[in-house]
């Protein structure tokens, strides 16, 4: 972790019609930092990730990633930035989705090699070598030729993580990566994310409802409510001894032991 912010939100507002999702929102993430966003659903935490992935435009404020603004001066259209500029931003960010979003018409190996070959211009041989390394890392070395439909949810999500890592992002976003999984498959995906968090200097943003897991891997936990960060700090502080009543109420529902402990 360094002291330079790699992600910066300044006075950002995001609305869908009448609904305000982010309300004059300020937020910074240091390079290499592991940050977990928690809070009730609809509080805007997933929106933060989707804005960073350029899946959603913002109406107001400044968003920057690695010094690149999400708006170019004088640019119009929903994203206020040229396709080329967005391409530059995206080359630094990767995302792991709640529903995996693997490409069903491609094998596991092809899912992982397609973008490195087509977008980064890697040779097929290099891309494959890297894909095999990544599959080894997520424990699916034997599934390279399988198709997504033949995998369990946990396996799909591990492939999705390998696919995102193959693009060598500086920031990796996890949008509720275990919410769509059967309970017995949550552990294998968490294990992969945990190893990533401990062994890499990757900047990680995680939205999750798994409080114990958030506590294990994060440098910082941010509690969201109604489009703002209500409280943030090291997981030990936020989760054991929250200052805000709203945080306490939320955590009480998820972690019964925090209210007694």
């Amino acid at each position: 972790m360094t002291d330079t912010p790699i992600i910066r939100f300044q006075n950002v507002s995001k609305r869908y019609g009448d609904l305000t999702v982010l309300d004059h929102f300020d937020f910074e993430v240091m390079s290499g930092e592991k940050v977990t966003l928690i809070g009730p659903s609809g509080s805007g935490k997933s929106t933060v990730l989707r804005i960073l992935m350029t899946l959603e435009p913002v109406q107001e404020g400044v968003v920057e990633l690695d010094g690149l603004s999400y708006r170019q001066p004088g640019r119009h259209g929903p994203f206020h930035a040229s396709a080329r500029h967005l391409h530059q931003i995206r080359s630094r960010v990767g995302m792991v989705f709640q529903n995996f979003n693997l490409f069903p018409h491609m094998s596991v190996l092809r899912n992982i090699t397609e973008a490195p070959v087509a977008v980064l211009g890697l040779s097929k041989a290099d891309a494959r070598a890297r894909a095999h390394e990544l599959l080894e890392m997520v424990g699916l070395a034997d599934k390279a030729q399988a198709f997504p439909a033949q995998l369990s949810g946990g396996q799909k999500q591990r492939v999705a993580i390998a696919r995102a890592l193959a693009m060598r992002p500086r920031v990796l976003l996890f949008d509720e990566p275990t919410s769509a999984l059967d309970p017995e498959l949550v552990g294998e995906v968490q294990e992969v994310i945990r190893r990533l968090a401990h062994e890499h200097d990757l900047t990680m943003l995680l939205v999750t409802h798994e409080m114990r897991f958030a506590r294990e891997i994060s440098d910082r936990v941010c509690f969201f409510d109604q489009g703002r960060i209500v409280e943030q700090g090291p997981p030990g502080e936020i989760m054991i001894n929250p200052a805000q009543p709203r945080t306490r109420a939320f955590l009480g529902a998820y972690l019964p032991e925090t209210s007694t402990g």
Binding site: M53, T54, L55, A83, H87, R90, S91, V93, G94, M95, F97, N99, N101, L102, F103, P104, H105, M106, S107, L109, R110, T113, E114, A115, A118, V119, R128, A144, Q145, F147, R163, A164, M167
Partner: protein
């Protein structure tokens, strides 16, 4: 008059029907893909152009289009050979219906697939060709197969602009022999047989598309 005497002229006509069907189905498929992709995923001027083409040719009747090209167009433009006129009318008509099939299949690919493509930094063009189209293609094959059969049936209308297809031959034979029942029964049976062959062919093509897709995947 026995069927054996009727059959040779009808078969000559059927050959013309086959030529018309194959040519206009292939041309129509090309139009369908261009217009469907332009309308579903093109920049707005192209989208507007494609939408106008599709609405006009789906909204008016094929016979009206055929007569318009045959009778009206030569008055303001070039005089074209009837056979070519027939092919143009059939292709434009079936292409417009096919375009809606192509567009529908493209739009049916879930939004999440587009988002995954953005997250992997594919360009819009790469997303269309590598992610969306391969998933949409197998879905559009069955309705396109139905359109091919529809096109075979539609070729009968070109007999009205003097093309000597199966229907034209049937009309000539009837006028000659006044023997309606055997002439038209044989004609209907010939159309039915051609439709069965065409359907089998389209099902083969459909299977090939699916297997081809799988082959691409395996080669990774």
């Amino acid at each position: 008059m026995s069927g054996t005497l009727l059959l040779p002229p009808l078969l000559t006509g059927a050959q013309v029907t086959v030529e018309l069907t194959l040519t206009s189905t292939v041309l129509g498929a090309m139009l369908a893909f261009s217009a469907g992709m332009a309308r579903g995923a093109g920049p707005w001027p192209l989208r507007l152009f494609a939408a106008t083409y599709i609405e006009i040719f789906r909204g008016t009747s094929l016979l009206v289009q055929l007569f318009w090209l045959y009778y009206a167009l030569p008055l303001i433009g070039p005089r074209i050979d009837p056979f070519v006129t027939g092919i143009i009318a059939l292709s434009l008509n079936i292409g417009a219906y096919g375009a809606e099939v192509v567009r529908g299949a493209l739009l049916a690919v879930p939004r999440a697939q587009h988002e995954a493509a953005v997250a992997l930094n594919f360009t819009a063009r790469q997303t269309l060709w590598r992610i969306i189209l391969p998933q949409a293609l197998p879905e559009m094959m069955p309705p396109l197969g139905n359109l091919a059969v529809q096109n075979l049936k539609d070729t009968s209308l070109v007999s009205m602009i003097t093309i000597a297809d199966l229907t034209f031959r049937a009309q000539t034979l009837r006028n000659l022999t006044l023997n309606s029942i055997p002439v038209y029964s044989l004609t209907l049976l010939l159309y039915f047989a051609m439709a069965l062959v065409l359907m089998a062919g389209m099902r083969g093509l459909e299977r090939w598309v699916r297997i081809k897709g799988q082959g691409d995947m395996a080669r990774a």
